[in-house]
Point group: C2
DNA sequence: TCTTGACCATACGGTAGCGTATTGACATCT
DNA sequence: AGATGTCAATACGCTACCGTATGGTCAAGA
């Protein structure tokens, strides 16, 4: 018998989940093994059963985020279909659903960790190049498409990092105006 | 005689300067008193002469950045004069002069420190409202002006945080296209 | 010269967190 | 019932810092 998940026993995922939560709320520097253990009401003896060391947990957290969050929006947009103009609006609207807490924390993390920075760079690249292709489909030149794609993406990242807290209704109106400005062909 | 700066003696400013450097390169978590002392070839006995504790240094560093960096660009734009359209282009071009290393580090810092976050919020607010007034002068509605101001600003912050490393020539071309896109009326 | 104050060294005690080693509890398989 | 494997508790030693206490040095003013 190789049953799993009888609860009351912890697995790697429990530590990762908690790690992500703490990461979002207090930053990487606060995801430390002894404090985490306390939150789980166990001692670190448990932790070192599941992980080789703290580094391994951090990598697992990162990996978890990447595999969960990266391509999900792109897929949703593609499934919904439509022309490039529609897809772009769809993309804008989906992107602002997330509050970006975790992503913000990871960006802050990346500022002092080149390995994380490298990974984020790839994520940014994938998202940017997808957005760029949509602008290309609208008939913009490569340079124009790139600049516009960056403007969209920066607008999103900017909201995360600058932290403009506003309600969803206004955000939606804002995003529609952005769509108008960036897709207008004069 | 109350001479100063005979060199070979340190003052608060020496610690602040080094602090800013380390902050930009390795992040807040790396600006610690003993390592800093080592870089200055002194012991921490010196540090605690000039500062009450580490917290006080961090505040001094922050204060130093705010008073140096915040309004300088706005002033330069105003001094140069011209109409709103000219000022906006001028603003764009000046903003991309800075590589944003320090600002990036401070944004990462702010992610885990609400006091820093509050201060940054004020800085952002001042910069955004200035930019917004320029768009208002161009005849945009308050909402349109705000959205456009944010797009400019986010584009700048986005370059800092996403870290798109590109040469000055391309940056300049990019910024001019942004100016075109965002100021176009009809 | 003598004093004073600015600056720095040395030495100390304290804390938080890392990682290891060892043992214990409990469930499952044989 | 034993043996085994999984997870957790306990108890270490270690390092990197923080902040304090105290004394030393050296230049400038009286």
């Amino acid at each position: 018998m190789v049953k799993k998940k009888e609860s009351s026993k912890l697995g790697q995922q429990d530590w990762i989940d908690l790690g992500l939560k703490v990461l979002a709320e207090k930053g990487v520097e606060s995801v430390r093994v002894e404090p985490l253990a306390q939150l789980l009401n166990v001692t670190k003896g448990s932790f070192y059963w599941h992980f080789k060391n703290r580094e391994e947990l951090l990598e697992a957290i990162l990996q978890d985020w990447v595999s969960c969050e990266t391509d999900s929006i792109i897929e949703q947009v593609e499934v919904a279909g439509g022309d490039a103009l529609t897809k772009l609006l769809h993309l804008f609207e989906l992107a602002i659903q997330d509050d970006g807490q975790v992503e913000h924390a990871i960006r802050a993390w990346a500022a002092n960790d080149s390995k994380v920075a490298l990974l984020l760079e790839q994520v940014d690249q994938r998202r940017l190049s997808y957005t760029k292709t949509l602008f290309l489909e609208l008939g913009f030149t490569p340079f124009e498409a790139m600049v516009r794609a960056r403007m969209v993406y920066y607008a999103l990242v900017g909201e995360f990092t600058v932290g403009t807290r506003t309600n969803q209704a206004e955000r939606l109106a804002e995003v529609r105006l952005q769509h108008l400005i960036l897709t207008r062909r004069d």
